[in-house]
């Protein structure tokens, strides 16, 4: 006279995984389809502001600073300001057939040499001609970030 049979009391049961697998398949497919496979990255820079107002405190010896100027002709000029101002021109690399290219390896080498001589120097300012395309500025920033921890973008 038992109301519950032996089969109903059986605790051994299996979860039906088929609908879970269905959901997972749909979710994974959705995520893969909506995913962007472009690998984006960022370059941290800061804005260098210049004012025409004269500074109240004038130090006897200004700290050294490095400026990198980019020209549309693909020429680069590295200017080291300090006790002695030095201008280092880096000419564009002109292949036998083709357009002139930036000599970024030389730029990297020049900044590395300056950094070796002045280890306290931790930043570099980039200036560029107004018509220069942004992609070239980014390439220069990328190159400088390998040597200098902080890059300022100037006029």
């Amino acid at each position: 006279m038992s109301a519950v049979s032996a089969d109903d009391n059986d605790q051994d049961f299996e979860i039906n995984l088929a609908p879970i697998i269905d959901c997972f398949t749909v979710l994974i497919t959705y995520l893969l389809v909506s995913a962007s496979f472009i690998s984006l990255s960022t370059l941290d820079v800061a804005v260098a502001t210049t004012t025409e107002e004269p500074s109240e405190v004038v130090s006897a010896e200004p700290p050294p600073s490095v400026y990198v100027e980019l020209y549309t002709t693909r020429d680069i000029k590295v200017i080291l300001n300090g006790p002695q101002s030095v201008i280092i021109p880096i000419a564009a690399v002109v292949p036998k057939a083709g357009k002139p290219e930036w000599d970024l390896a030389k730029l990297n080498e020049t900044i590395s040499n300056i950094k070796t001589k002045l280890p306290s120097l931790g930043e570099v300012n980039i200036k560029a001609e107004p018509r220069l395309k942004y992609k070239y500025v980014v390439r220069a920033v990328e190159e400088l970030k390998r040597v200098m921890p902080r890059v300022f973008v100037g006029e």
């Binding site: 990255s41 210049t50 942004y134 980014v138 006029e155």
Partner: protein, 171 residues
């Protein structure tokens, strides 16, 4: 001899059993894939979606700098967007001269007061304690430096001095 082997094979118990797909292991694999995908999308820079027509500059080696909570500025050939909303019309990347001015903090650098106003509004609407000085800049690779510089100056004048230039890694 051959018929004996065939007879034994056909009479084996294995052949009588119903084939059941073992989906437990499949569920395990799917769970791991799903967690991996969700985690990748939640933490990566993939949350940034460039607008249509945007061609970002490429870099040779990827920089591993962490993406911060920031306001997004996009420079496109015909418009400048702030958090996907258009703030300034440009013509072939050129900002109209009447749109340009000179800021108090950066006297010799041109700025756009329209962009400054929009950024100040964003800063004002941001919850207290969540204000940031970071701006993510997505500029078209062919944009002239003068336009990018004007946008950067405007951001700096509005109190956003730390910039993150979004680029595409080629490796």
């Amino acid at each position: 001899m051959r018929s004996k082997v065939l007879k034994r094979f056909l009479s084996s118990d294995d052949q009588k059993e119903e084939m059941a797909l073992q989906i437990t292991s499949m569920a395990d694999i799917f769970t791991i894939i799903l967690i991996f995908l969700l985690k990748t999308f939640a933490t990566g820079i993939t949350t940034i979606t460039p607008s249509q027509g945007m061609v970002l500059p490429q870099v040779v080696r990827m920089n591993q700098s962490q993406m911060k909570e920031a306001v997004k500025i996009e420079i496109l050939p015909e418009t400048i967007l702030l958090d996907t909303k258009p703030v300034l019309r440009v013509h072939n990347f050129e900002i109209a001269p009447e749109q340009l001015g000179e800021s108090k903090t950066a006297l010799v650098n041109p700025v756009s007061f329209t962009i400054i106003e929009a950024l100040v509004k964003v800063r004002a609407t941001a919850a207290a304690g969540h204000s940031t000085t970071h701006v993510v800049v997505l500029a078209h690779e062919d944009a002239p430096y003068s336009t990018v510089r004007t946008v950067m100056n405007s951001a700096a004048s509005a109190g956003y001095g730390d910039l993150q230039l979004v680029v595409v890694g080629s490796d």
